[in-house]
Symmetry: none
Subunit: 294 residues, 2 copies
């Protein structure tokens, strides 16, 4: 809600307006509702709540908390926001046509989704499970995992480091503390793993790190796009996947998905290490609730 009005409001607006008063069960219900608004608008409160795994009364109470008199009124709102036409007289065909235009019509989001989905589909054939597995094995068998990337790749490097730490691995994002880079590398040895991220041309820093790592005998993994493929001392393992189509899709969706696959695969082959660490992390986060917001 940019400013003031209330008459036409979207579901998310209404939710955020009452956000403070919503309970755990409410969010479970909203998950189901938002996941498939069309279906939710059709079903009755009982079906929705059973799909969300909660008591039917919870649906009623959610509706009331959101400011509706009861569930039927809430559902009517959901329906109205989908149909988006008055309830008066039906000049149906025109309205349906309009809706179809809207649904299939172009929009920024829609075109981005098309391109991302296409890129992911390509991944299916471009990257093999074997490669994923080899990455995972290397990480599993490594003592410490060093991650590095610059620019866009830096954010991915940070993310992967975070996730690996949570999975119980000694992972260090070298990009996070560039000034202390030398100190971090002092102990780099043959048992360690360096995972590089490079899109477009590899930065000098990446190449330098690569050389150092090779000299010290560390294993080197690289996740790149096609342009970043030319790493001079070749890494031990390399996965290269093109991001998106024309132009430089700045998106990290494709490489991030590959990284996710590696981390997930790792959890399947490290004999419970990831699972245990993740569980420990979850428990820790629950135990000190208000201080460290994860």
């Amino acid at each position: 809600m940019t400013t003031t009005h209330e008459p036409p409001a979207s579901l998310t607006e209404i939710i955020s307006r009452h956000a403070g008063r919503l309970t755990d069960l409410d969010t479970r219900l909203l998950n189901v509702l938002l996941q498939d608004p069309l279906r939710a608008a059709m079903e009755n409160g009982k079906d929705v709540s059973s799909r969300a795994g909660v008591h039917p009364a919870a649906a009623v109470r959610l509706a009331q908390r959101l400011g509706f008199a009861g569930y039927p009124e809430f559902r009517a709102f959901l329906q109205a926001s989908l149909v988006k036409g008055g309830s008066d007289f039906q000049d149906g065909s025109a309205r349906i046509a309009a809706r179809l235009m809207r649904a299939s019509g172009e929009g920024v989001l829609s075109s981005i989704l098309d391109s991302e989905i296409a890129a992911l589909q390509q991944l299916r054939s471009a990257v093999s499970d074997e490669n994923i597995r080899k990455f995972a094995e290397t990480i599993r068998d490594g003592r410490r995992i060093f991650l590095f990337g610059r620019s866009h790749a830096a954010t991915l490097s940070a993310l992967v480091a975070l996730r690996l730490r949570r999975s119980g691995y000694d992972a260090v994002d070298l990009g996070a503390a560039l000034p202390q880079l030398s100190e971090q590398l002092v102990t780099l040895g043959p048992e360690d793993v360096l995972w590089l991220f490079a899109f477009r041309r590899p930065s000098p820093a990446v190449l330098e790190l690569l050389q150092i790592a090779r000299k010290r005998g560390a294993r080197v993994l690289a996740l790149t796009d096609i342009q970043g493929m030319r790493l001079d001392p070749a890494p031990d393992l390399l996965i290269a996947a093109s991001r998106g189509g024309p132009g430089d899709s700045q998106s990290l969706v494709v490489p991030m998905t590959i990284a996710n696959a590696v981390i997930l695969d790792l959890a399947g082959i490290d004999d419970g290490r990831s699972i245990a660490a993740l569980e420990a992390f979850r428990a820790l986060r629950e135990s000190l609730p208000p201080l460290m917001g994860s």
Copy 2:
């Protein structure tokens, strides 16, 4: 239903099959039904019949004449044909859930791809272009853009800050220099924009920032998942999208794609500012080749 189930049949098929036995009132009802099937699938028999100007009993009898046990069953059929035709992720999500179960062994990548693609498909209906546009407009009209997120959201925050800077905006990732956070906020004013990222429960830091920003009159944007939706002083604009299906998909693919859409849309409405800045950046990078690897 009365007999064995007819496998798949469209409404028009069913109608033509029983065309001989239909009455005048049935026709009037079917007119209304066919005019707006979506709406018809949502409403109950009473509403439909009153909209058609007939007695409620007529709706029941039509359903029975068409071979259904009663009106609810007829409506269920209408709904099923809409859900199946309109979007196929109903079947998809179940299949994905099943596949994720046995994901540890084979086809990790494939199952992750399924899950991410399904999540992106859902985005199509969950987030409107309007919301994207409003986000973009707010950023365009802001003086400085502050970004903040913790944990996984921090990497996204960093990425968006990076991309906004390249697009010519004065964007600051507050997470990058937490110790200097107070200094950064000293000048926060009504012309500034604060863009928060929060998945799962919002961290205290996020809530605190939110309150400060509101107090100072800054515009607040929020990109969250369903669980992160409960921000207490409601932000000016909020986009919430559920990430993936079962379990907690740690993936940032969905929110990242939303952010990409905002940034892309921004380039379309800021009168060349983004384009010019991106071009300037590209030229700069080309000009000093080996030093700053992007």
